[in-house]
Amino acid sequence: MSEHMQLSLALCRIGLYTCFRALCCKGPPPPRPEYDVVCVGLTGAGKTSLLSHLCSEGSDHIVPTTGFSIKAVPFPNAILNVKELGGADNIKKYWSRYYQGSQGVVFVLDSASSDEDLEAARNELHSALQHPQLCTLPFLILANHQDKPAARTPNQIKKYFELEPLARGKRWILEGSSTDNMEAVKESFGQFISLLEDKDTEPARI
């Protein structure tokens, strides 16, 4: 039923839009700029869930990603072509095969994971920050699963990951995230898009 409504609404929108264009003799709005970004993080960090939510897709069918998933994620002022890579051990080893051509990096971690896993995430992030094909790119680091009781705060993550010394001179943003609050996630991405648009180096900020 709601699918029917969605289709009808979509059609109404398109109908209205077409009328508007015809009446106002305006061409279509300029296309949004597109940026290619790679999204990595350990398995279970929540990469697929976050991206699905950003695309207004349900999360019922989500299973661990066993390869790559390229998605066009629309934002008001840009489209991000996100290359998301599975985080399982047998897939992680292939991450660097996908770095070439990226303009930004999204790194997702589970803030509520065990100390061991958090350390593994830190190591992966450090590797990515230093990788020749990624080291000059803007990073969006999402301390995900903030809704869980065991979640470390973004500040704690920032300290533990030693981002300030390590990522000095690079452009990065670290924000807490949770699929319970997608508005905040969209805002984080909005900031990230500003970094992508900005050709000059900006100081790191949290």
């Binding site: 029917h4 969605q6 289709l7 009808s8 609404l9 979509a10 059609l11 929108r13 398109i14 839009y17 077409t18 279509p28 296309p31 700029p33 597109e34 940026y35 290619d36 695309c55 207004s56 066993t66 390869g67 790559f68 998933s69 390229i70 998605k71 066009a72 629309p74 489209i79 072509n81 290359k83 599975g86 897939i91 292939y94 095969r97 996908y98 070439q100 051509g101 303009q103």
Partner: protein, 253 residues
């Protein structure tokens, strides 16, 4: 009125949208602008989309199907020179030595996010047996039925999901060409690059509808299935798969 998309594996099948079909879904149609160009001098395996509209733009000589059918090896440059839809498949189903299997296809309107069409293939069935004998090409042809409203869309996201067998693929590339009668509407060239062994991968392209005159739109609606596409898949510049589709735009709700 609403969108109505159905997929038919062959002319006898009248499955409706969303129903699981036994055949390979159509290939993704779409292209995203690659906003950064690759400066690396060596051959890139990065994922990039090149948009070209005709063979002179792509800088390749024109080719004919007859030439390609007689040659042992079909390369990307060969198909970029084709001026019309092929009558025959340019490779056999057995050429798919990497066991690439398309398992899902979805189209959504980028402006509203509405899913317009989705089809999934059930877990791989036994490839030997009666089904094969009936029509070896059944798995590589899809017929789409859309309403006229579909042609008014500006941007759709087309998602393809595919599985890869045990051999890793270094350089996987798709070239898809859409024609109305003998006119090339749009050509897409997408390099997936590296595909991990035993992986399931999804890829969504944003497909921007080419500007179509009112005359052509009218003709496309009036002449169902004269809009057709060839999708060619290459591994290391050798053709391994060739899928086909045709389209109608005169559906009613």
């Amino acid at each position: 009125m609403s969108y109505s998309c159905t997929s038919r594996g062959n002319s006898q099948d009248t499955s409706s949208a969303k129903k699981t079909a036994g055949d390979n879904p159509g290939t993704g149609t779409g292209g995203a602008d690659s906003s950064g160009s690759n400066d690396s001098p060596k051959k890139t395996t990065a994922m990039r989309v090149k948009k070209g509209c005709n063979s002179t733009e792509a800088g390749v000589p024109m080719t004919s199907e007859e030439d390609l059918l007689s040659s042992a090896l079909v390369t990307p440059e060969d198909v970029l020179g084709l001026q019309k839809i092929t009558e025959n498949y340019l490779c056999s189903p057995d050429d798919n030595i990497y066991n690439i299997d398309f398992t899902r296809f979805k189209i959504r309107d980028m402006e509203t996010g509405t899913v317009l069409f989705e089809i999934t293939k059930p877990p791989s069935t036994d490839k030997t047996g009666d089904k094969r004998d009936i029509d070896p090409n059944a798995g590589r042809f899809v017929r789409y039925q859309f309403t006229p409203a579909f042609l008014r869309l500006r941007q759709v996201g087309a998602t393809v999901e595919f599985m890869v067998g045990e051999m890793p693929i270094d350089n996987f590339r798709m070239i898809e060409r859409h024609y109305f009668r003998e006119k090339l509407l749009k050509s897409f060239d997408f390099e997936f690059g590296f595909c991990m062994p035993n992986s399931k991968n999804t890829c969504e392209h944003i497909y921007e509808f080419p500007p179509l005159s009112e005359d052509i739109v009218r003709e496309m609606i009036l002449h169902p299935y004269e809009t057709q596409s060839d999708s060619f898949y290459f591994v290391d510049n050798k053709l391994v798969m060739h899928n086909k589709a045709d389209y109608s735009y005169n559906g009613r709700t």
